[in-house]
Point group: C2
Chain length 352, copies 2
């Protein structure tokens, strides 16, 4: 489960910064609804439920639809190179569909029963239907991209967007392969882990920003936007990992250590498993059959002693710094790079 | 599970007819291998296993790779309008990838433990990885289509192929939704069933033939090829349903009634459930908790008494007739339509 811990930090600075762009989130949702509404009622209702637009019986609801961070970055990247934001709404919708299909499938793979505070799609409609709904979203993402033509994009632009986003999808699957494989491995290095999240999380964000810049007629700047998005994605995921362990503590003062309890191998754990002087003890905790409250406390202690949290936060800052350097290298005017710079700063500084 | 019963009829006429086009099957496999070989070793090995090219440890093997009926129809449709077959190999590969991803996911959804005489992907690599591999194949299908450009297709042709195949994918998912839903329903009409297989099986075959004709520069003939493929697909699936119940009897004289044993609601069953005078008895058999050998025999008797097999075979012939009419309507020369006509005749007449 990736990229969703942030909901713990709904009062966080990044969320507040994203809310400044609520009009884009609304515009992307509007575009998404046009695509989803073309589907047959049966499939449409499942999609509407997943997106938070409907309850499980298909009646209108106002669930949390997610942050839309990928599509907002896409639109802002287009805007940053002087492109017209309304024209990239179809590709923004495609990016959200790809991300959301990965969540629907991820929840089956993880056996997660809740997402955004509600039962997951597989929990309500069966695993078989949830696999199918994810596949359907993949097809809808392609149909969404084809809508770029109506928004005045030429054939070459449509095809190049297909290429960038499809390549990100292959990386996403490779990352997912590694993530699943890591569940049964204990000897994961920090490098292994960073390689996994580069694929699983950062690749789609990098494709979102580079495609946004490319479609905004900033073809020569697109590689910088790719690097920007990748660094942003790395920071975002590691920040997410921090919140997964210390998130509730940061917001409420009380530790839940949710990711520890589930023995997820996120960055701080991988770091401690390789760097802590108590790594053998932690390894034993992470491979033994049972894991009780005392074990959670012990694991937390080991993390604290080796400075896993500080090291992770330091890495977040370094990736944010790299992201900012890429914006700089793209040679944008100050006013144009401001929104992306702001988001990056908020991401680095988000301590609650 | 769709479109695979035909392996029972490896001595069948359709298979023999397809074997005439073994050179196309080889060419498509060759193209597929180029695409698959670009993937990381871990994912590549799973794909190679599924396609029958490798054993589960990644070593070369010669498993049954499937009939390649969709891609052969695609190539023959291109050829029928005078197109150059080598140029549509990437789209032929895309069609096979879409079909095969649907098989990988279908096996998880059905809980099928065997495919083409070997353990299914999920059985060897876990359901989580099999979901992921299917997603990966979806992305590879898109990358395969993008290779059309290298084969001299223009942007517009690539985009239109994307549209036709993506729309078929949405239909495939709608069909899959219905198929899964039917498992828990007994009141399925013949019309419901035909609508389901039109989406689940016929839509991708129709997209294969229409895209083949379109890319072969037969744009104005493509709608006839769509209708041809759809009718062919309907006949193919109903023929498959017949083989699923009476296949072994047809080839070996001994009935296995595999689909009856699994209480699958294929065409003959749906027909009997609505038309047989013993439909209430059959309904009871299909909803009761247990189902023993005596029940299988009873169900087979009910099918025989109401002429379900003859009715199904009659429908196969009618769809084949419709397919032939569409070839006629496309206005091809005799020599050009011959291969597709032959395949259709063999499909209709295949009695073993």
């Amino acid at each position: 489960m990736v990229g969703e811990q942030g909901i713990l930090g709904t009062t966080g600075k990044l969320d507040a910064a994203l809310d400044q762009w609520a009009e884009y989130r609304d515009a992307v949702q509007n575009e998404l609804q046009k695509i989803v509404n073309r589907a047959r009622p049966s499939l449409r209702n499942v999609l509407r439920y997943h997106m938070g637009w409907a309850n499980e019986r298909g009646l209108s609801a106002h669930g949390r639809p997610g942050k839309f961070i990928r599509s907002i970055l896409h639109v802002l990247s287009c805007q940053a190179v002087g492109g017209e934001t309304a024209r990239v709404l179809p590709s923004a919708a495609a990016v959200e569909l790809i991300h959301n299909l990965s969540l629907v499938h991820d929840d089956i793979q993880d056996g997660s029963e809740e997402r955004r505070g509600r039962p997951t799609v597989w929990k309500l409609w069966s695993k078989a239907q949830a696999i199918n709904i994810g596949d359907f979203m993949f097809a809808l993402a392609a149909l969404a991209l084809l809508r770029l033509e109506r928004h005045g994009m030429c054939d070459e632009e449509v095809i190049h967007s297909f290429r960038l986003l499809t390549e990100a999808c292959t990386e996403l699957c490779e990352g997912q392969y590694l993530d699943i494989e890591f569940e049964n491995r204990i000897n994961i290095t920090v490098e292994d882990y960073l390689n996994m999240i580069r694929k699983k999380t950062a690749a789609l964000i990098a494709a979102s920003t580079s495609t946004g810049a490319y479609l905004g007629k900033g073809r020569e700047k697109a590689p910088h936007f790719h690097e920007f998005g990748e660094a942003f994605g790395m920071a975002y995921q590691i920040r997410d990992d921090i919140l997964g362990i210390w998130g509730a503590e940061e917001t409420t003062g009380k530790s839940t250590e949710e990711d520890l309890r589930r023995r997820k191998k996120t960055f701080p754990i991988v770091y401690a498993l390789t760097e802590s002087r108590d790594k053998t003890k932690l390894e034993r905790l992470y491979t033994q059959k049972h894991f009780d409250d005392g074990d959670v406390r012990l694991a937390a202690q080991i993390l604290n002693q080796c400075g896993a949290r500080e090291h992770a936060q330091d890495l977040v800052k370094r990736y944010c710094q790299r992201a900012l350097e890429q914006l700089e290298a793209a040679g944008l005017t100050n006013s144009r790079q401001a929104p992306l710079m702001d988001l990056t700063h908020f991401l680095a500084e988000r301590t609650h």
